[in-house]
């Protein structure tokens, strides 16, 4: 099928690539750009591991095609830390042990990043609802909830 050139911004850098229409955004990020921080779990929109920010809003990168992203701005988990310094949200996950195997973590971070900016001092119930689209098979979520609570209370003002 006919390939098409696309140009998009990922973590502040503009990339131009030629893609096949059926290439998923998740596979584009991993295989074309080498950004393997975006994880691929279920590939049908259930697990949330592949969540990235599309123009600032969290979306499943397995439920979008790269070819649709011409002109888009994407942020992946690689866009969080700068100059070797963890983002406050990442620091909160480290401090509260909000991960075990870490497979779900990038998707959770990218889901919660804009959410905590919009929800200062959230309740535990609100956090659990906000996390409902991300599956974690290790932690029982308790530590993840604590990490989000810490980040939402103390890490505001960061993009």
């Amino acid at each position: 099928m006919s390939m098409r050139p696309i140009s998009l911004t990922v973590n502040g850098t503009t990339f131009t690539r030629t893609v096949e229409p059926r290439l998923l955004l998740s596979d584009f990020l991993r295989h074309e750009l080498g950004l393997t921080g975006t994880h691929v779990g279920c590939e049908h929109g259930v697990c949330g591991a592949c969540t990235v920010l599309l123009d600032g809003a969290p979306v499943r990168s397995c439920l979008a095609f790269a070819i649709q992203m011409d002109g888009a701005t994407i942020t992946t988990v690689e866009g969080l830390a700068s100059d070797g310094e963890l983002h406050p949200l990442q620091e909160a996950f480290q401090e509260k042990h909000g991960l075990q195997c870490g497979f779900c973590t990038p998707g959770i971070l990218m889901t919660m990043l804009p959410w905590i900016a919009e929800h200062p001092n959230p309740t535990e119930a609100e956090i659990r609802e906000a996390l409902s689209g991300n599956l974690c098979r290790c932690t029982g979520y308790q530590k993840i909830v604590e990490a989000v609570q810490l980040a939402a209370g103390g890490g505001r003002g960061e993009g």
């Binding site: 059926r22 049908h44 929109g45 809003a57 969290p58 397995c62 070819i67 659990r128 609802e129 689209g133």
Partner: protein
């Protein structure tokens, strides 16, 4: 778990979409938000030769108030509806239901037109459109028609929209005066597809009698199911636990749910009644609060 090959088009006008639909017929699928279509492509449950992406047609995304109804463009994303002050004010049932569609990540991509045209038997929006007596506008080459919700849904993943027509606009009547509303569903996990769900409105006359009721259910049939007998049984009665329980029994008698791995038919029928009672009670509490607010 990779989609099959397809040819991709991303037209920028409705006319181009209609031309492509005429050209490719059954071999083409329309791609709206993709939150239902891309999973089935990934699982290779369908293999369209052509995908027509509607994402580059800005005139299909809007929310505006017209005479007695809200008009929403087919490509209006759920998140936009969820955050719309106009929707919250003029049709709070839609605002409440849309927050229960999928997860936030899904609502950032999913569209109101896509959800209705897909007609999933467990989806929220078909039941809302049916309960409210809404409609959709579909555009064919040189002809436009409006399809009432009662005629739109024709069974499992099936609608009255023709193969060369495009759903362009969703019309949702605004909430009448003295009317409460509720969308109540039960899902195993917040954001999952509902095992059963109920959309309802309840209108009270000045003397407190029920002047009108609208009821529709999701998850308990091949498509959204109207609770007409239950709704009309309430009209003229005073709202009470007894009259709500009688309506719930009528709903249970009317639905024909199926068993699947998530729930048995008997449990779904039980839920249909229980959720109807809860939805009616919540709608009543809201209309009473509105009335109290107006009196104060």
């Amino acid at each position: 778990m990779k989609p099959p090959r397809f040819a991709y088009h991303d037209p920028t006008t409705i006319e181009e979409v209609l031309d492509l639909l005429h050209l490719h017929g059954d071999e083409a699928k329309l791609l709206a938000g993709g939150q239902s279509l891309i999973p089935v492509l990934n699982m290779r449950l369908t293999s369209p030769k052509v995908l027509i992406d509607l994402g580059r047609i800005p005139m299909l995304a809007f929310i505006r108030e017209e005479a007695g109804f809200l008009a929403l463009g087919a490509m209006t994303r759920h998140a936009l509806v969820e955050r719309s002050a106009l929707v919250a004010q003029r049709q709070p049932l839609l605002a409440e239901a849309i927050r229960q569609v999928g997860h936030p990540q899904i609502r950032n991509r999913g569209t109101i037109g896509g959800s209705l045209a897909h007609a999933d038997p467990a989806a929220e929006l078909p039941a809302v459109l049916l309960a409210l007596g809404g409609s959709v506008v579909v555009q064919g080459r040189g002809a436009q028609r409006e399809i009432a919700a009662a005629d739109l849904f024709q069974g499992l993943f099936t609608t009255a929209i023709g193969p060369t027509e495009l759903l362009t606009e969703v019309r949702v009547p605004v909430l009448p005066e003295r009317t409460g509303w509720a969308f109540v569903e039960l899902a195993r996990r917040h954001g999952d597809f509902a095992l059963a769900g109920v959309a309802c409105t309840l209108t009270l006359a000045p003397d407190g009698q029920i002047a009108g009721c609208q009821l529709a259910l999701t998850g308990v049939g091949a498509g959204p199911v109207q609770g007409s007998a239950a709704a009309s049984s309430l009209v003229g009665k005073m709202p009470s636990a007894t009259s709500f329980a009688e309506a719930a029994a009528l709903v249970q008698a009317a639905v024909e749910p199926e068993s699947d791995i998530h729930a048995t038919a008997a449990y779904r029928r039980h839920l249909a009644g229980l959720l109807t009672e809860r939805a009616l009670a919540q709608a009543l509490a809201r209309v009473s609060r509105l009335e109290g607010g107006a009196a104060g």
